[in-house]
Point group: C2
Chain length 213, copies 2
Amino acid sequence: MKRRDVILEVSLRLFNEEGEANLTAVDISNELDISPGNLYYHFKGKEEIVGALYEQFEAGIILLLKDTKEAGDTLEEHWLHLYVVLEYIYYYRFFFRNITDLLQKYTAIDNRFRRLIEQQYQSIHTMLNNLLDEGVLAGGDAEIRIDELADNMMLIYTHWFEFQNLRKRQLDQHNFIQSAILQIMTLLAPYMGDLQRQFMKECNALYQRDKQG
Amino acid sequence: MKRRDVILEVSLRLFNEEGEANLTAVDISNELDISPGNLYYHFKGKEEIVGALYEQFEAGIILLLKDTKEAGDTLEEHWLHLYVVLEYIYYYRFFFRNITDLLQKYTAIDNRFRRLIEQQYQSIHTMLNNLLDEGVLAGGDAEIRIDELADNMMLIYTHWFEFQNLRKRQLDQHNFIQSAILQIMTLLAPYMGDLQRQFMKECNALYQRDKQG
DNA sequence: GTCTATATAGGGATAGAC
DNA sequence: GTCTATCCCTATATAGAC
């Protein structure tokens, strides 16, 4: 494994654990047991490391977004897709820790990140419309506010991890993903038919069981 | 007006505009047209300023929470109460800008802020239960997941401003409050009766009209 | 590629004059 | 109460030896 890749891997772990703003280039080189000068040989500084990690993150997310279009029309298929996206977000969760300051600090990432968010929003919007067309979701006598529903799903994507930390502190990957999915399912539950609601209950039962075990 | 109060007022404005982490004690003294040494005479540093602002914030929010109990049982009354709380959050919005790092940095505030969040959560929980008991909200054939609904409302309280900045950048006070209320109302809409839904539509119409004007 | 040593800059904080 | 001057510390960044 190339040193460059090791640096990225260790930096990502440290960023996720402690927050990008709380780490200096020296901290990273200490954790790597190399000298600061050596670190500067590979990356000009923290900014370049964050930039390289963002390249990885963006490339992967864009692939996942393409998959959405082929994710199918049933709730089960979307459930799986949600799972994969949340897994990915968790892996790069430091980007979602203090987004406002992070984007203010790294202006090069700012525009690209926001564009990604818009794409994700559009993707959710399309998914909700598909589910409506297929009759998987239905308004009943209440009309569905697609825009606000999509907003709320995006809010969960971008801020659920930070919110959970605020309330119960650290969540491991599994609990993060399951609780986020449950939260999104609760959002959609009122518009589901009986079959879908039954499926959701089973998912939830699995989650509750895992939480105790 | 005492200098001490002026310092707090100006600091709050700067924190809200630029973010607490992006300002130094010198920045604040520059804006005040006083010397850094003078600022240090009044407050030992940024930490004490943030602490004093938090005291103000907490005292006010606790008063508002007490009001909740007497907020009444109709949606209209709760709508007004929501409005006041959101107005207050907007006034001290820098606390909600990069919560994770802020609380990590100021450990003295950390526990108290989290306790406040829990109290707010309990207050929302109680409110939802009241609305259910009064029949203002009803599950119909779908059961209501109170815990997740309350979670989602808290998520909006704590992260809506940051989320809006992420998507559309700066919102003024009015648009922040109205969009947050619409978001919460959308959350509750599926469980509302026709009268409540009608009321919500009127609120929303007012908001849409304002947005254009 | 990797190291040590060092230069530079900025923020935090205090002493002491006015 | 307010100012100037100054010091310390930490983070960034580079030069040059190995």
